[in-house]
Symmetry: C2
Amino acid sequence: MPRVSKEQTDLNRTAIEQASSKLFREKGFNGVSVADLMAAAGLTHGGFYGHFSSKDELAAVACATAFSEASERWQKRMQGKADEQQALHAIIDGYLSSQKVRDVGNGCPGAALTTDVAREPLDKPVRAAYMAGTEELVEILTALSPSPDPAVRRKTALAQWSMMVGAMALARATEGYPIANELLAVAREQLLGDITA
Amino acid sequence: MPRVSKEQTDLNRTAIEQASSKLFREKGFNGVSVADLMAAAGLTHGGFYGHFSSKDELAAVACATAFSEASERWQKRMQGKADEQQALHAIIDGYLSSQKVRDVGNGCPGAALTTDVAREPLDKPVRAAYMAGTEELVEILTALSPSPDPAVRRKTALAQWSMMVGAMALARATEGYPIANELLAVAREQLLGDITA
DNA sequence: TGTACATCAGTGAACGCGCGTTCACTGATGTAC
DNA sequence: TGTACATCAGTGAACGCGCGTTCACTGATGTAC
């Protein structure tokens, strides 16, 4: 039953993007096939190239989608918080949860895709997408820094970002061992302690 | 010209391990084929299963090898340093170099293999190898912490480790953009500043 | 508004290719006398 | 020490399989009258 309404076509494309955004984070770019992605979107593999020119192109789109989702998640956590300190607290606390260790598919693409992106050639579109997404999240952290000096705010945000990504990536790789929880706890303590102090 | 002396057999096995240790870090477990690994060791693919029972088993061995190399590299950097503070300085400074961003194959496996290991099932041997290697490096950092309290030393080491791995992984993923160097610089500043302070 | 037809989103078979692993074979190494 | 032979590390063809991508086809959608 081919040919589908324009609305359905858009829905299908969105479904592919969202399935990819999730599956790429879980299994990496090379860990999921085009057929897997299409099946997860409820379609068959042949129609893929009607939506995207290559798997590479989709990787970039899915990466951007994942960062957008993360950004929205952060915005949502900030809502209703009394001040910047509490907003930052909510973001970091939500980020470094042991639940997120297991749920890579709905977690931060910054931590889930690092090495995948790092292994792509420098001119691949996914690299630009990853970098833009990173800046988007660092921007949010920067806005929440208490310092009046913009340079210090930026530095604080970048240091927080490195620690958040590092602790989460390491906790995932050491999942099941005591050190995984230690890493999360120490990062939380250090990052939240810095805020309160 | 098959059948080779026992000494040569050992040399060949070591060559496979070292080539794998490097290539897995560069391209990931799924990014290199058994044939690639054997070719890099100067052999043909068929002989692989005389040395290892599977690619999975080799992944664990290569992971352990990479961490051992890293540990030795750290020990070497510590040599001749006047005190713990200077030794720690040397390790961190060497770790966060922009040269290491490009030379993944000779860099820290902790940062190079995070997501690869995180995607392996919990019972795979490579996970135990990664965890043991992590503990090995964290141990070194712990020994260099200035605090008299063992719990504090451990926490300091874990926080440093998260920051080092996070900054390096992110710098690699954003290589070529200004933020890559920013991330390295900020992490260095924060980690080395903590020492001096 | 109804009808006739062109469009084109999605299907599934097929393509060439590279993967992890197996295996019959080779011939230098190692050993038994 | 020299010789005859068994061993087995390494070779390369072959296996079944899944990959990214292409393409002829289908039939509901969208359009022109």
